[in-house]
Each structure stands twice: as structure tokens, then as C-alpha cells.
Amino acid sequence: MFVWFLLVVTELGRTIDRIDHAVLEQVVRWRTTSLNSAMQRLQFLGEPTTVLVLRWAGILSALAFRRFRQLLVFLGCILVSTAVSALLSEFLGRSRPLGVEIIGNWDGFSHPSRPMVDISVCLLGLIYLLVPRGDWRSRAKVVAGSYIALLGIVRIYLAVDHPTDVLVGIILGVTITLLGFRLLAPTDAFPITYRRGRSAHLDVGGPRGEAIRAALGEQLGLHAADVRPFGLDGSAGSTPLRIELADPAHPALFAKLYAATHLRSDRWYKLGRTLLYGRLEDESTFSTVRRLVQYEDYLLRIMRSAGIPTAEPYGFAEITPEREYVIVTEFFEGAREISSVDVDEAIIDDALGVVRCLWESGLAHRDIKPANVLIRDGKVLLIDVAFGEVRPSPWRQAVDLANMMLVLALQCDPEKVYERALLRFSPDEIAEAFAATRGLTLTSQLRAQLRQDGRDLISQFRTLAPDRSPIKIQRWSVRRVGLTGAVLVGGLLAVLLTISLFAQASLL
């Protein structure tokens, strides 16, 4: 800005005009009919339609790959570059090249060259949106650089821009985009990858893998030889890991990596439930990742001390303060998910015994589903206690019982499960459990397996148990009404903001 200000108030501007003019006069001497025709055709490289196509390509690809942060940065770069170039253009008010014949299309003042700014932002933005760091990104930068250079040559040849307009346009576009992406979406923190998997699953290679190994060693005294993702299909709220220790005598460990993204997912999930059903018990969100991990660690210890067969906790380690933590537990080597074993009476009794133990200890697991019920040596093991609750309501405990009975019934007859359940629970308790069962109380995996099974197990259990009217779970409150209103207003504002953004960025 200071340089531009100097240009206006000093004679430097005239000098630059003279240099630009000399260059353009020389370029004009090289013009030939065939070259003119070729250059005029190449103008499309910087036409508004091309810019629009590139911008939408960036936006749609960012949406397709769910790179929302990079998308916001990309839109921000478009808006900021448009605003800065418009301001400069107004401030300087430079005419198109004088004294030479202009043989191309142009629009508005010439400095800085808007097509050069727009194309630089688009191409560099696309690289940071789509191309992983490394050789591919380097190659993409060479291609983008060649494109930008060719467009610059075309515009100077046609004398629609001065050489300095082109140069400043490129500098402006490249600087804004680089600053935007490097400051607001750095590749270290938000890498571009194309590995398949849920967005909740973080890359544990590279610097993050190193940091995990260092933190395990320094904070928990666990010297990891290998840390790799494990059982990603069964987890959506964290990145599950298997840790091989340097000491071969030590059995492998299980760990879960939590990050701010998981915290946000938890918040959205609970907000959705509050909107749909009202404030069910314990729908309050965690304020930080540290608290989320602390809570899971606490529940692991509470459950172990209550005699629940869950994994032995090894504590948790801090990877990035308040952002990423890894919680470590025993790895149930040789254990299999209940849906892949034959369920006999002993397993049924053991599983129902675990629920009874939860009841008597004043605990609820709240996430009983096939993936969280493992069998090893004929014994039931309960994992993933992150959603657990201490001193839950009878409704919440009843839901645990119903879910466990459904998990068991998926592998055998519901009559047999009901019969064995009567040994530990009264008919009224079982009736209450299925009176409380709703779509909301079933996890998505359990719901999917019930659909796949085809039998209406919930109705069958309700038939077996004494008659009991369903328990209503809709809870209306001023808070729920207010929250729903706030979400609707927020949604409307978001739509208006998006329209405004797109209009400003000439995307509509």
C-alpha cells in the first residue's frame, strides 16, 4: 500500500508508465496477424467465465471432500482479493495502455490486472484444496505457474494490461492465497489426503504419529514401536489405534485419539438430540477435548472398580494441549464381536449379568451395541464407555437392558434371552425396558442389524413381557423452544450470508 501511495504522490509513477510503455511498444513490434489471432483465442484463459468455472470447481470439490475449512479460506481469498484489487483500481484509476493499439477485451481500470489476480487465486486455491503436499503439489504449482505466465504474456501482447499490472496482479493473488491457506488452514494441521475413511479418523502418520509416540513415552512411560489405526469401521467418534510396544513381552495396547473435530461432532450430535427430543438426561456438551478424555478415563476406572469387565485404563496423554489427546487401555487380544460368535446360555447370562452389575453400581453404559460387546473365552467384555453415566435415571438403565437383550437376540431366539433375563430381572423391569425402547434409544449399528435380521425383535419382547404403555421421551421446555428458534434464525442467517458471499465473489 505504501509503495502504491508513493507511486501516486511522487514521480515514480511516471517513470513506471514510461518503462511499461517502452516494453509494450517493443511487444507491439513483434505482432503478426497469425500471432494476433492465436493470442486473441488464448484470452479465454482469463475470461470471467473461466474464472467462474474454476471458482465453482474449487467450491464443489471442497464440498465433495468435506474440506469445509479450506472452502471458507478459499472463499475468503476470493473476497479479499476482489475487494483489494477493486480498492486499488479505484484508488489508482489507471487507464489501459496508452499510445499502443489494444487488440483484446478488457473491463475497468487496468491496475492491478483483475484477471491475473482472479486466476492466481483460483489456481493456487485449487492446489491447496485438492493436491496433497509433496511431489504432486510441486508439479501442480509448476502447471499453475505456466498457466499464469502464459496468461500474462497474452495480456501484455494484446496490450490490454501494462506489464506492471500483470506483475502486481500475480503478486497480489498469490500472496493473498498463500497467506490465507498457510495461516488459516496450514497443511500440517489440515492435510489433504485421499485415503478412504470417516472424517473423524485422523491421519496418524507423519508428525502426528511422531507426537503420539513421544507423548506415550514421556507421559505414560509406554515406548511404542508401532501405532496404527485399528477397527476404524466400528468407530465414528474417535480414531481407534493399536499400539505395539517396544518391549515384545508386553501385550499390545488399544488407544483412541480424540481431537477438536470429535468434540464438535459430539456437540452437534447432542444439539440434534436436544432439538428432536428435548433435553434428555446428560445431553450437556464437553467444553474441551481434555474434559472429554478425562471423563472417559474416569468412567473406565469407575467401571473397572465396579467389576464391569471393561478394558484396563493406562491413562491418557496430551498430544497438542486442548486439541488432541490419546487415551490408552488394555487391548482385548483374541476377543471377537458378539455378532460373529455363537451365543449360548452362558454368554447370555454373562451379558445380562453385566447389565445387572451396571444397575447395581449406579452406572449406565448408554452405547450398548454389537461392536461394543466382545466375547473372549466365553466371557463378555464391554468396551467404549465414553458415553457412560454415573447415577443415571431408571429410564437410561432400562434402555441398557433392552439394548443388551436385543444384541443377544440377534444371535439366538428372543424367547431364550427373555427366559434367561427373568433369572436376573423382574418381568416388570423387562417390560419397562422395552416400553422405553425407541429409535432414539437404539444406536445406528443396532438399528441396522435389526433391520437386516428381519424379525421384529422389539415387538416379540414386548409380547413376552407384561403389558406396559410406552414411555414418552419428548421433553418440551423453554430452552428447547428457544434453541429451536435460535437454530432456525441461525440457519436463515447462514443462508443469507452464503448468498451474500457468493454474490460478492461474483459466483452467482
Partner: protein, 185 residues
């Protein structure tokens, strides 16, 4: 949470929101008025460049009470600028410079601008006043499109006062003067 992380967390939505709601300056339309006095020389040069064959260039000679400049759009082959009026309305008059214009159906009347032929076509006088006035001259045509609210109908003459023409040679002289003689139109 460290200050840097907190800053990064809010920076992206903040930039987006500020850009969306405060980014009016991002509009591509120019707001630099093409005034007939030397102050608007750069803009006048650009306007002249838009139609290199035009012997005359439209410019804003002065602002009658209640009139002000609204927007300018210049590209090769056409210049368009608009004036707002507190009585005639928003974009009450649109002035354009083009290499040629269609005067079919218009009535030729004596022109007050030397070296030009003036054509008038009244479109509506029922509610709003809508009319097109064209000045045709060597290598170009300047058109005024009037779209006045009912109460502004009597302001047509003020537009004649507001808009003036400059000869290309005069604009060229300004360019030469400002560049110290090194550049010409």
C-alpha cells in the same frame, strides 16, 4: 487453548463474515466519476479508450441540486455511467458511449452539441417518464436513457446541464499534459 489456536479458530468465519457484510468495496463496478474537469482525466482516458473511434466522450460537467454520480462501467466497446436523483429516483439516467446506436423510430431534433445529431424517442409518459436521447457523431454515439419517477419528469433539462461532451483531442491533450508528453491517447 493457546491464543494462536483460538485466533485461527475464529479467523476463518470472521474473515468470511466481514467480507460478506462489509465487502461492498468488492463490487466490480467502479465509483470513479468521469468528470469533465482535469480531476477525472484518468477516467476520461479510460472512457475514450472504450470506443477508440469516438470523436467525443461523455462526462459529468456539474451536479445540479439533488443529482449525484452512482456508478461507472467501462469495457472495450462500451462505457455506461449512471446518475441518481433525489426526485427522479435511483439510476434516473443512464449515459452510454458506444461505437454506434439504433435510432430507428426516434425523432431527430436540432442538437445543442456541435458536431452531433440528436434523436429523441419517448417511451412512456403515463406514470413514470421513460425516454431515450441519442447523440450520433463521428465514430460513436452517446445515449441517455431516462427512467424518472412521476415527480421527476420536469428534471430532463437538468440532465442536459449535468452531462457534457469532451472532444477526443481535448482528452488526448490532458493525457499528454499529465504524462509530461510521453503518452498519448
Amino acid at each position: 487453548m493457546s491464543a494462536t489456536l483460538r485466533w485461527r479458530r475464529w479467523a476463518v468465519p470472521a474473515v468470511a463474515a466481514i467480507s460478506a457484510f462489509g465487502g461492498g468495496c468488492g463490487r466490480v463496478e467502479s465509483h470513479t466519476a468521469p468528470t469533465c474537469v482535469p480531476k477525472g482525466a484518468d477516467t476520461l482516458a479510460l472512457v475514450a479508450q472504450s470506443v477508440p473511434t469516438a470523436a467525443k466522450v461523455p462526462c459529468i460537467a456539474n451536479y445540479p441540486a439533488g443529482w449525484h454520480f452512482a456508478s461507472l462501467s467501462v469495457r472495450n466497446g462500451r462505457t455506461l455511467f449512471t446518475l441518481d436523483s433525489d426526485r427522479a429516483g435511483i439510476s434516473a439516467v443512464k449515459v452510454s458511449l458506444q461505437p454506434r446506436c439504433d435510432v430507428q423510430g426516434a425523432t431527430e431534433i436540432p442538437s445543442e452539441e456541435p458536431g452531433t445529431r440528436r434523436f429523441e424517442r419517448i417511451i412512456s409518459v403515463v406514470n413514470d417518464f421513460q425516454a431515450v436521447r441519442s447523440y450520433v457523431f463521428d465514430g460513436g454515439c452517446i445515449t441517455y436513457r431516462f427512467d424518472f419517477d412521476r415527480q421527476g419528469r420536469a428534471l430532463v433539462n437538468e440532465v442536459s446541464v449535468a452531462i457534457g461532451f469532451m472532444d477526443r483531442a481535448a482528452v488526448d491533450a490532458l493525457v499528454r499534459e499529465r504524462s509530461g508528453g510521453s503518452l498519448q491517447l
